[in-house]
Subunit: 406 residues, 2 copies
């Protein structure tokens, strides 16, 4: 976990101020849920390792120590994503919400991961979700809004990779894997980027179905070469007109809806890690970043699993911390942030002058002029201030820019 | 704990968008700290009952169950205020911060209180603090900025009550109480609002110093009548020129600095609950609210106690939840939030039309026209939408206002 210094908070707020209005233009509505959820609900959701990642909160006022077991000691947990809270929120409030419900969630989540460079145990997530829409209109809205938001944030030259879990499942079935093996097949295919086609073949061969494994392994190099709808139609051993129709509808709709030329690449090797996706899946890639900047997909069964309420759902999540890393140099608050350096002789004049300056600038800091002007200005620059005035013997100087290497 | 619905999030964001820019104009800089702090640090701070109020987080990966004691089971806790984190932040980062350091903190805190109406276990705090300023310039900045922020939020006719702990301590000493009894004397005086002068006399008489108790009890009714500097000069049995000078300096400075007529009332009966104040204390009252809307004071010794770094400090905290309660009816997002009701026959036209509308409005929601127009519009109104269009047979209607009782 980490503190955020003043300049960092400015940058992050600025980034959000670019993203949020775009999502609101698309009709998404921001909601907030508490940081703590019932531990049972957090543990009950899909996501294997989450159990170990949850910060568990002890019951208050335990009178008999020790409780019989660890699970008797804790009843709440810090949320590790925004999807479990969204499901609970929707189940609680669906009567008051619009149909379809387009949600924005921006907030911290917590994961008790091993500390490593660039990873934090508290970090921001920035999600949009459409609940209650079965058609691919939902995917179009998410991708058009997402592409416009990333562009507004200052990113260019990103690519959206698009695929559909239904195609991947059809391919696994065609190869001869049964339903129970499907999840493992997807996990193996998801490693293609890291281990290559030979590595995937290796993984597949360990699933205990040699014939299916070799059939699929033979296909993988071809999938790697296949991009776009037409190529897929000729390369895939099985296709599904409904799915291909949806993908085509999505690609066209995103461009119409966003008024932008969005680079969408249909990619049969895109899998995404999570097990819960049921339809279209997508990921945003950018040349300057190793991993993906954003991603999501359709998860029609999960809200029911989490909350008992059966509602189709599609989501898009921006990797806020990663985008902040990429863009931080380009982000600063708007307007001139000025400093009034004064000699402290006449308090009333300092007060009056700074009150006047506040009518003209977004930030006015008063500070006693120090002996080392250059060091003082450098510190101010590093803290996000852009201009300075000097007040000596009640005389106000002209405005000065704080130079890069003052 | 509670969820925040879309309209509530809009209102709260709008409230913050009124307050934060004022604080930034005064040169305050926003920082953020993690929700979790070391439990030892949270427990070690002043604040008696806080121990019971802390949500404690269990250590991860406890291998031998049970741990010997409750304190062996938990190592982190959710912050219950923003002052403990500020002290730790300052001690960690003071080399990178400006002097004086003017901090804005806005964020949730958690307290495991008994559930009761209008109280939440997770709630927002909105604090400004000046660290590193010994002069009453700090108090002036806090109160001028605070008064301007409350006015920008939409409040009028509030009164700032102002007093100084040094005067209260001098009065306790004058009556004959010794240093150890001082805290209890302040606690008794703080109940004046609730129990009246006779009740305070009762409390004082239980402190085991009858002579001092009756001397002070005799003074209390007079203190109740005394408002303003001149009245205090004649009514108080002991005064302190330095303190009275500071109070006068503060009252004058707030008006000059804020360009506003701020209603400040010097009130010798203002005590405030917390034990840690060392100088000026203040509270903001409003006719429409039972308790105070904001408050703060100087706490010069606390940062040292919490973090080891000796730095003078003054703070002002806005009761965000209370002000939201008061103002929620007047808060809404800016701009027109429109809905496009369509007949779903021509998806491409819906997409194109909503893209066009997004160039003109801050929010554009697309939704299939339902059978019950009036119910549909009411739900939209309740969700913060203000206008609607209709798209039938690819023809767009004129804009319509969603009426109050559609």
């Amino acid at each position: 976990m980490r503190d955020l210094l003043p300049v960092e908070v400015l940058q992050r707020r600025h980034l959000l101020e670019r993203i949020l209005p775009v999502y609101e233009k698309y009709g998404y509505q921001q909601i907030e849920t508490p940081a703590l959820e019932e531990l049972d609900r957090l543990m009950g959701s899909e996501g294997g390792d989450n159990d170990k990642l949850i910060y568990k909160v002890m019951k208050r006022g335990i009178s008999d120590w020790p409780p019989a077991s660890e699970s008797d000691a804790a009843d709440l947990g810090l949320r590790y994503d925004l999807t479990v809270p969204l499901a609970r929120f929707y189940a609680t409030h669906s009567n008051e919400l619009l149909v379809p419900f387009r949600a924005i969630q921006v907030g911290p989540v917590w994961r008790a991961e091993r500390p490593q460079k660039g990873r934090y145990r508290q970090f921001m997530q920035c999600d949009i979700d459409v609940l209650g829409e079965t058609s691919a209109d939902a995917e179009i809205e998410l991708l058009a809004g997402g592409a416009e938001a990333l562009t507004a944030a200052g990113l260019s030259e990103f690519t959206i990779r698009l695929n559909d879990r239904r195609l991947l499942r059809a391919i696994a079935a065609w190869a001869g894997f049964d339903n129970e093996q499907e999840a493992c097949v997807l996990i193996a295919l998801d490693k293609l980027d890291k281990v290559g086609a030979a590595g995937v073949a290796d993984e597949l061969s360990q699933l205990g179905n040699e014939k299916a494994a070799s059939k699929l392994a033979d296909l993988v190099p071809m999938l790697e070469e296949t991009r776009g709808l037409d190529a897929m139609l000729s390369a895939l051993p099985v296709t599904d007109d409904q799915v291909l129709g949806d993908l085509e509808f999505i690609v066209k709709g995103v461009t119409v809806s966003s008024h932008m030329e969005v680079d969408i690449e249909i990619d049969p090797t895109l899998v995404r890690g999570q097990g819960y996706y049921t339809g279209a899946i997508f990921e945003v890639e950018h040349a300057s970043s190793g991993g993906s900047l954003a991603g999501g997909g359709r998860y029609d069964n999960m809200i029911k699993k989490l909350s008992g309420v059966d509602v189709p759902a599609t989501g898009f999540s921006i990797g806020f911390e990663r985008i902040w890393d990429l863009l931080s140099g380009t982000l600063s608050g708007d307007g001139e942030r000025v400093v009034l350096l004064h000699d402290a002789t006449d308090t009333a004049t300092v007060q009056r002058t700074s009150a006047d300056l506040r009518n003209r600038y977004v930030a006015v800091r008063t500070e006693r002029a120090g002996r080392n002007r250059s060091a003082q200005l450098t510190r101010l620059k590093n803290n996000g201030f852009t201009h300075w005035f000097e007040l000596t013997n009640s005389e106000l100087s002209d405005i000065n820019v704080i130079e890069e290497n003052e």
